[in-house]
């Protein structure tokens, strides 16, 4: 498998892929991804559930600007992709790319499972990133 898009964003467990969020030691607030740098000391890492529910979504119909986007595609062969927020009950609502053939079948409330997507980049070859797909 290719290298991860970044360290400490997700982890593979027996029951599926889990995102790694941070819980504030001060007030319990959760955020994804787990804060890095100086703020990391203020948070404890928490693995999110492998399945949640779709909270909202859209389809990215034009190629995002580079930088910051590093997809290996160009304006001519870009394929629109879906993305959205998934609510992990009692934890946090996290944003990610969505793996789906027909985005018109997406619906708020749909159960979604965390997956790993091989994302082709123009700078680092394929990288492994997390994504959501209907459970």
């Amino acid at each position: 498998m290719s290298v991860a898009v970044a360290d400490g964003v997700f982890v593979e467990r027996a029951d599926g892929v889990r995102l790694i969020a941070g819980r504030s030691r001060d007030d319990g607030e959760m955020r994804f991804p787990m804060p890095s740098g100086a703020d990391a000391a203020l948070y404890d890492p928490v693995e999110l559930a492998p399945v949640g529910k779709l909270w909202s979504y859209t389809v990215q119909r034009f190629r995002p600007k580079t930088p910051p986007y590093i997809g290996a595609d160009d304006d001519k062969n870009f394929v629109p992709f879906a993305l959205g927020y998934v609510e992990f009950a009692g934890q946090v609502i996290a944003e990610g790319r969505i793996l789906i053939d027909d985005p018109s079948t997406l619906k708020i409330g749909l159960p979604m499972r965390v997956a790993i997507e091989a994302f082709p980049t123009s700078t680092r070859g394929d990288v492994a990133t997390y994504a959501f797909r209907p459970a």
Partner: protein, 380 residues
């Protein structure tokens, strides 16, 4: 304490002006505002101004006059213009100054705004994998709102149709051709459910305002709308903002709700008292959601309001009478002041073909990254 009045207002038309810099357009607007009030730069005791992408506002000084005036550059995201306005308001309200200028201008390249993850405190991969676009945020916020409150895609289209109709009547607007509902709904889909004609575009323009104390205004023999309330508020916990890799499960209100409540409280009025409103319409969905966030209607009522033309010219509460961001485009540093400019024109009875009859109380609200909102309430 003294009241604060707007005694002069100037604008450089919004749009694209290849031969002019952003600063050129800001200087133009200041000269217009000074001429409108019949005062000169040397009379100004302070200035607050800013742009997001067109340089320091105080670069205008060599062209306006090196009078030694204290000039403070403002940088506050999409609320830069609203923040300049509020700073000028405080300067006079405090009793420290009697008269001064607030200005905003900008000039952006075409297409979506470039985003830098690290400058926003976000991990690089968030932008690298294509999730750092303001357009996506607007699409996902209205998608959820539509589902929760029964707003149709037709209503999204109606907001845009109204904006372009109003833009035809506003000399400072950029897009001055009407666009019909079918064209709006069937134009290129950019980020579902929002089409090309439902989004505003980055643009250019400049706006300036001369503010004065009650006493100074009388001394000069001038009149002008009174600032009844002005407030800027930032995102509270649980709000849904641009560039958010995660959201709290416990949902909270938007910063606009806080800014709106604060401004109404200062003014001692409520949403039912407002005659005309300019509210942030980065895209059609934003206008719909901001109608409720500013207290004008309940969540979901927008569907009937738009079908009945309540917010059109001639309706009970005309909204975005100059076509808003949709028809004017969005030069970030100038956009909030453009709303105030339009309200000044309405309250002075100078809005010509788009005049709201007998407008006495006018409301403006600008929202933007990274999650802040500025509201101003003016009285004729």
């Amino acid at each position: 304490m003294t009241d604060v009045h707007i005694i002069g207002a100037g604008i450089h038309p919004f749009g694209r002006h290849p031969a002019m810099t952003g600063l050129d357009q800001g200087v133009f607007a200041v000269r217009e505002a000074l001429a409108d009030a019949g005062v000169v730069w040397a009379d100004m005791q302070f200035a607050f101004g800013g742009s997001a992408a067109a340089g320091s506002a105080d670069a205008a000084l060599p062209r306006l006059g090196l009078t030694g005036v204290q000039f403070i550059n403002i940088s506050n995201g999409c609320a830069t213009g609203g923040s300049s306005m509020l700073s000028g308001y405080w300067a006079i309200k405090s009793g420290e100054f009697d008269i001064g200028v607030v200005l905003g201008f900008d000039k952006h390249p075409r297409g979506a705004f470039n985003a830098d993850p690290e400058a926003s405190g976000l991990p690089r991969w968030y932008g690298e994998t294509g999730m750092m676009l303001t357009t996506q945020f607007f699409a996902m916020k209205i998608r959820r709102y539509m589902e929760l409150y029964g707003i149709s895609e037709t209503s999204l289209g109606r907001v845009a149709v109204k904006a372009y109709e109003n833009g035809v009547r506003a000399p400072h607007a950029w897009r001055r051709e009407p666009v019909d509902l079918d064209t709006v709904l069937n134009s290129q889909m950019l980020s579902d459910p929002l089409t090309k004609f439902m989004f505003c575009s980055p643009a250019e323009g400049g706006v300036a305002m001369v503010l004065a104390s009650d006493k100074k205004m009388r001394e000069l023999g001038l009149t002008g709308p009174k600032v009844r309330g002005a407030a800027v508020r930032t995102r509270p916990r649980g709000s849904f903002e641009v560039f958010a890799p995660s959201l709290d499960v416990e949902r909270g209100v938007a910063p606009t709700v806080l800014a709106s409540e604060a401004a109404y409280a200062m003014a001692g009025v409520g949403p039912q008292d407002i005659d005309v409103a300019q509210i942030q319409d980065t895209e059609s969905g934003a206008e719909i959601m901001h109608m409720a966030e500013n207290g004008f209607c309940a969540d979901g009522e927008q569907e009937a309001w738009l079908a009945d033309g309540v917010t059109s010219l001639g309706g009970r509460l005309p909204v975005n009478t100059d076509g808003g961001c949709l028809a004017c485009g969005e030069p970030i540093g100038a956009s909030g002041l453009r709303q105030v400019y339009e309200n000044v024109q309405q309250l002075r009875g100078r809005a010509e073909a788009r005049q709201v009859p007998d407008a006495k109380l006018a409301y403006s609200q600008v929202y933007g990254a990274p999650g802040l909102s500025a509201v101003a309430i003016l009285e004729a």
